[in-house]
């Protein structure tokens, strides 16, 4: 599904990623771990098409080269990024935002747009699955949400949009144990043989709930080690220092 080859990324001539290679197949869950400044969030941003990076190497999504594909087209093709710091947009109703987003993506997939009633039914269903209080759906988007609520809102959007590839950028940071479980349940219940997940995290903690098929260690802009879920546990004990 996703093929990254020799990805080099610079910001203002400063190298951040120094030749990343990564293959993700449908049905797989990959975790990327690594210390601060290793380039984890940059990788997530580059995958989503964010501007401001000089890029070489190639990123292919379902065989298509993404180099010239805009952020929204990537989103419409099924790449979803759960933000580390979800943005507040004052004055915009959360439900309204979710509906606009869902219908844009549905339209791009050649599906019928949902009317308000059908949408509300769907969002109610999905939010109750995640144990999300419906009340926050009528509030302004992420405005005054707690850290946990913002992250839960990201997972709700992921469930609504049904992306092919979900990239979770440190979704676990700052979450209490209950919120962490909600996020993990959200991922586990969305897993099918047709989609894939790339989970970016500092800690093993989230991986206690979401069992990854592969764990990669990113250090100084390179994947320095790849293993199975046991690698995460090992890192938790010994830290990153030994790997550099």
């Amino acid at each position: 599904m996703l093929e990254i080859k020799e990805l080099i990324t610079k910001v203002n001539e400063k190298s951040i990623l120094n030749g990343v290679n990564l293959n993700i197949k449908a049905g797989e869950v990959h975790a990327i771990m690594g210390p601060n400044g290793s380039g984890k969030s940059t990788l997530a941003n580059v995958l989503s098409g964010k501007n401001g990076y000089q890029i070489s190497g190639s990123i292919k999504f379902n065989g298509e080269d993404l180099t010239e594909v805009s952020i929204e087209e990537r989103a419409q093709k099924g790449i979803f990024l759960a933000f580390q710091y979800p943005l507040e947009i004052p004055g915009v109703n959360t439900n309204n935002f979710l509906k606009t987003s869902l219908n844009t993506v549905r339209k791009a997939r050649g599906e019928k747009e949902l009317d308000t009633l059908t949408f509300l039914k769907l969002v109610k269903e999905k939010s109750s699955e995640l144990g999300i209080d419906e009340k926050f759906l009528s509030r302004q988007l992420n405005v005054g949400f707690s850290g946990g609520e913002k992250k839960k809102n990201e997972i709700l959007q992921m469930k609504l949009l049904e992306p092919k590839l979900s990239v979770l950028d440190e979704t676990d940071s700052g979450l209490d144990i209950d919120a962490l479980r909600i996020v993990a349940d959200g991922v586990n219940s969305s897993k099918t043989k047709n989609n894939a997940f790339l989970i970016i995290t500092h800690y093993q903690r989230l991986l206690d709930y979401i069992k990854p098929d592969f764990v990669h260690v990113l250090s100084k802009g390179r994947i320095v080690k790849t293993g199975n879920s046991e690698l995460g546990e090992e890192l938790e004990k010994s830290g990153y220092a030994n790997l550099q």
Partner: protein, 479 residues
């Protein structure tokens, strides 16, 4: 009729067509004969003509104000036409059937429910085409409640006592250059009278359209809400695209007596000029409301998206004790548009309250100024004002300015002023893009969110239109 040269460089302005219709025009230029021509063609009584001439005499000694931020080339007032009307309307239409079908067609294109078949929309419309009022819908239904809703020309003839009593009572004929000019040459506009204790059952609406070229539009609106009454009034405006600048200098006077409430909403979408700043309307308007009675309330809501230059301060004179004035404004300027707009809240009575919410949005090379006055008189004990001015900037070439004047002669009053200036946030745009929205959809969403407090003041059906207009006005401004 002169052939019009329309410019088509601005594809976004969908109201830019002109209607080829035969016109009757006053002689060119500003002089007594022109004023007499207007008064005569409207069959006005003598007092009205005298009133106009008094204003004209006053005008001779007045100078155009020059303190505003957007400057403009000198207007040659002798080069303008002051009256232009479709020929077919010079004989007053008795019913909609008598109205020129081309006019009806024009209004259809503009989406105005001129025919009563569309009564379900619940909006009574008075439509002003260049200088004359074309038709007023729902007249019968309103008449039953004693509500008068007609063109000002008709009111001058049919309801002279009311007009005489109130016209110029809020905006005196000597007020300032453009207001005085309007008093001398105003051509048409709307008149509303709501009798005591009547709640007007529908939104009243006027639609203004400038069609003819080289013509100024000087409309005059007068709304009186008698004791305990309520009315909500909406005006909309469009004009064809032309490469000349056209002057629109309207006067609007509102009077609210004891316990009465007037809600006045404007969606202004005059032609803004093309991308290079050629053409567009000079929208120099004087709007003022008097809360004359105790517990009265006047609320202005404006969505200003059009015009080359918008220069207006819808104001409230809070005379009655416990009266309330509100001003909600969205001013959007794109390309080379300029706006200098805001309000004046004059607190005279005790316990008077005012609230100002202003949202200014600048994009392209545009310049947007909020200018407002809160003036609390010594007798206005325990009065309060709350002002919030937010500016949103898009790009690096535009400007936003906030100029609040506060005069307070009273120690028991409370005045609050909050102001913010923000640039549209790249991260917010990225977030929306990542959820599948393209740049324009994302901008529209964020800007509509920014304007929400004002948009929700508009009557439902217009709020939807205004939201779309906000999006269209900013097309191509990011990315």
């Amino acid at each position: 009729m002169k052939t019009q040269k329309d410019i088509n460089t601005n594809q976004e302005y969908k109201y830019g067509f002109s209607t080829d219709i035969e016109n009757i025009r006053s002689p060119r230029g500003l002089n007594e004969d022109t004023i007499k021509f207007i008064s005569n063609i409207k069959k006005e009584p003598k007092w009205m003509l005298e009133w106009r001439l008094k204003a004209f005499n006053r005008l001779k000694v007045l100078k155009e104000p020059n303190w505003q931020k957007p400057k403009y080339p000198k207007i040659n007032y002798q080069d303008l036409y002051y009256y232009s009307a479709p020929k077919s309307a010079s004989e007053k239409p008795k019913s909609l059937d008598d109205v020129d079908p081309k006019l009806i067609e024009t209004y259809k294109k503009l989406g105005i429910p001129l025919t009563e078949q569309k009564r379900l929309t619940g909006v009574a419309v008075d439509a002003v085409f260049d200088s004359v009022s074309v038709a007023t819908t729902f007249k019968d239904e309103l008449t039953k409640k004693g509500i008068i809703f007609c063109s000002i020309s008709e009111a001058i003839i049919e309801h002279p006592d009311l007009v005489k009593k109130y016209i110029g009572s809020v905006i005196p004929i000597s007020d300032h250059y453009f207001a005085t000019l309007n008093s001398a040459v105003f051509t048409d506009g709307s008149f509303v009278y709501i009798p005591p204790n009547v709640k007007c059952p529908m939104e009243l609406s006027t639609y203004f359209r400038i069609n003819a070229s080289e013509t100024g539009q000087f409309e005059r609106t007068l709304i009186i809400a008698d004791k305990g009454s309520y009315v909500s009034y909406l005006e909309g405006c469009t004009a064809p695209m032309r490469d000349e600048n056209q002057l629109h200098a309207a006067n609007v006077e509102l009077i609210a007596l004891d316990d009465a409430e007037i809600k006045y909403s404007t969606v202004q979408n005059w032609y803004p000029g093309d991308k290079n700043g050629v053409g567009g309307i000079y929208n120099f308007v004087t709007k003022r409301g008097a809360c004359r009675g105790k517990n009265s309330k006047i609320s202005w809501t404006q969505v200003e998206t059009g015009s080359a230059i918008t220069w207006k301060y819808p104001s409230c004179i809070l005379q009655g004790d416990n009266s309330v004035g509100e001003f909600y404004s969205i001013a959007i300027t794109n390309n080379h548009q300029k706006a200098d707009t805001g309000t004046k809240m004059i607190h005279l009575g005790k316990n008077t309250k005012s609230k100002i919410i202003s949202k200014g949005i600048s994009a392209g090379s545009a310049d947007n100024t909020y200018r407002g006055l809160v003036d609390i008189n010594e007798k206005a004990k325990n009065s309060r004002n709350y002002t919030q001015c937010d500016s949103l900037l898009m790009g690096n070439k535009c400007g936003a300015h906030t100029v609040p004047y506060i005069k307070n002669k009273n120690s028991s009053s409370t005045i609050e002023h909050e102001a913010t200036t923000t640039k549209i946030n790249e991260e917010q745009l990225f977030y929306c893009n990542q959820r599948g929205l393209n740049q324009e959809e994302a901008v529209s969403l964020i800007v509509n969110g920014f304007c929400k407090e004002v948009l929700q003041q508009l009557p439902m059906e217009f709020a939807v239109e205004a939201q779309k207009l906000v999006a269209i006005s900013l097309e191509g401004s990011v990315g």
